[in-house]
């Protein structure tokens, strides 16, 4: 009886955690789907779309999507090699003390708010190095944000490989490079890929740090160089949300949000299933 009651109460308490995501997604679909018409994507003829709303031009939402993807891809391609190098250093060369120091430092930096990294980027890259509001500044700031997460994930993935396996490979006289390629890579690639996809999802959803460092509201279709500003989905939604009184603008914001969430959820779902398979294999 008491068991029943306590279990029931717990389920009731837990309900929000399980129901809220479904409600959020459902509401997002409800508001966002109607706006996904041809003018949103800039597929209608040039004259018409100019007439209907000042928000959409002949390119529709594509510059924003491209900007987000570009930022995310650049950030991850900066962070991933660094994360791999750091975790290999941790596994191959670091002593026990510096190993744990490294993990603590990374965990602490992981918890520092993205906004502060954004401030750092604003001071150092935008003003000190005179890059201006640029793709490069935003990408490096995002890379700094995901670097601790990626590195910790990689370290954990490498730590899960049994030491007996590594030891027997070493006692066969295999070099560090050979062990990494022939013993560690087959064991860890799934977890590494999981981490990478989570990092992509993370970089796609961070808004505050790139607000001052990389993006402008409009006027950019495709960045000319690394040092020119971009537009991105997440900041686009932010600017639109601030104008929330106008129903038409709000509808545009919902549709953009739907696109963004689709992108992000896609990557985190892939990561989820990769991760599940890797834990099945253990």
């Amino acid at each position: 009886m008491i068991n029943r009651a306590s279990k029931f109460a717990l389920c009731l308490l837990a309900l929000p955690a399980l129901v809220v995501p479904i409600l959020c997604l459902a509401y997002l679909l409800m508001r966002g789907l109607p706006g996904l018409d041809s003018s949103f994507f800039g597929l209608s003829t040039l004259g018409q779309s100019r007439d209907t709303t000042s928000l959409s031009n002949q390119h529709g939402i594509f510059p924003q999507i491209m900007g987000s993807v570009l930022l995310s891809a650049l950030a991850c391609s900066i962070a991933m090699p660094l994360a791999l190098g750091l975790s290999l250093h941790n596994q191959l060369y670091a002593g026990r003390r510096s190993q744990s120091l490294m993990v603590h430092v990374l965990t602490t930096f992981q918890s520092i708010p993205p906004l502060v990294y954004g401030l750092c980027g604003l001071v150092v890259f935008v003003h000190l190095l005179q890059w201006g509001i640029s793709l490069a500044a935003g990408a490096i700031v995002l890379a700094m944000i995901v670097l601790p997460v990626l590195t910790l994930n990689t370290i954990h993935a490498l730590e899960r490989i049994p030491t007996a396996l590594t030891d027997s490979a070493r006692s066969l006289g295999m070099s560090a490079g050979q062990i990494i390629w022939h013993v560690w890579r087959p064991k860890a690639w799934r977890s590494l890929l999981t981490g990478l996809f989570l990092a992509i999802a993370r970089t796609l959803s961070e808004t505050a740090p790139i607000l001052f460092t990389a993006t402008v509201f409009s006027g950019v279709i495709w960045p000319d160089s690394l040092l020119s500003p971009v537009t991105s989905l997440q900041t686009h939604i932010f600017y639109l949300a601030q104008e929330a009184v106008d129903e038409r603008i709000l509808a545009h914001a919902w549709s953009s949000a739907l696109i963004l969430v689709t992108l992000v959820v896609m990557f985190s779902v892939i990561a989820h299933f990769l991760n599940r398979h890797s834990s099945d294999n253990e």
Partner: protein
């Protein structure tokens, strides 16, 4: 208080080196592995304490001693898996710290087989040639694979399913596969850390037979807890305790007429009370 005792042990170790005091010890022309004054410290504790040891050109050497005597550490130091030791280890007359082509090449030269059989998640053939890389691997013939598996007394059981996943083998078979794998890189010395612990008697016999064959051509060192196995393996035997080499003799001699008090104690009680070293 402990000083005289310590000195005496040191003295014995040196005497065994010269093989003057122990007439029954087999002697060989050429030393393969020489260990001089080997020290290893872990977390403030001495794991290996001023150890001296000479392995000759061929023959089996069994190492016995209580757990924590530093037997496995000794093997890991000789193989180069552990690097933070002090002292001198020379292989074929060359100091192992200055091995010509680096530590990896040294480990290729000295095969080490761990206590728990560890096979890689690939086929039996791939496991045998796992240590061979690049050109060597391409040149690896089926003859080499057959030779290694035969040497490890595994060929008859797996010759019809060489492409099967190695993880489907029984533990005893996996351990013999590990021996074959170590042989494929053509080591000059073979070290085995309790190769038959937790294996069934049949696999034990097969591994012992394989070791007898291998011992004819190269020095083979076997760490073991099984005193009967020491007798079966023949060759020389060492007794280690608390990181020190206590006694060294031909294996039957050591088992039947141990000279040192600690050795006798160990045979009787399976423990040994070496006084802790004051450092």
């Amino acid at each position: 208080m402990n000083k005289p005792y310590t000195n005496m042990q040191l003295a014995t170790a040196h005497v065994t080196d010269k093989t003057t005091d122990q007439p029954k010890l087999k002697t060989y022309d050429k030393a393969r592995v020489e260990v001089n004054n080997l020290n290893l410290k872990r977390g403030g504790r001495l794991i290996l304490n001023k150890l001296n040891l000479t392995l000759a050109d061929n023959g089996i050497t069994s190492i016995i001693g209580p757990s924590g005597a530093g037997k496995s550490s000794l093997l890991r130091c000789i193989n180069g898996l552990d690097k933070d030791w002090k002292g001198e280890i020379s292989v074929d007359g060359i100091a192992s710290k200055h091995w010509p082509k680096g530590a990896d090449a040294l480990r290729q030269h000295i095969g080490l087989i761990g206590q728990k059989p560890t096979v890689f998640p690939c086929s039996i053939t791939d496991n045998v040639v796992f240590g061979l890389r690049g050109k060597q691997r391409k040149q690896a013939s089926s003859g080499l694979i057959e030779y290694c598996l035969k040497q490890a007394a595994l060929w008859d059981e797996v010759c019809d399913r060489l492409d099967h996943n190695a993880q489907t083998l029984s533990l005893g078979q996996q351990q013999r596969l590990c021996i074959a794998r170590a042989l494929a890189v053509k080591p000059a010395v073979l070290l085995l850390d309790e190769p038959t612990a937790s294996l069934d008697p049949r696999s034990k016999n097969k591994i012992e037979a394989s070791l007898h064959g291998l011992g004819e051509n190269m020095p083979v060192v076997v760490v073991t807890h099984d005193l009967e196995q020491v007798r079966r393996l023949g060759g020389n035997a060492l007794f280690m305790c608390d990181g020190m080499l206590i006694e060294q003799a031909e294996s039957t001699t050591l088992l039947d007429t141990p000279q040192r008090l600690e050795t006798r104690e160990f045979f009787q009680w399976s423990t040994c009370d070496c006084p802790p070293e004051d450092e």
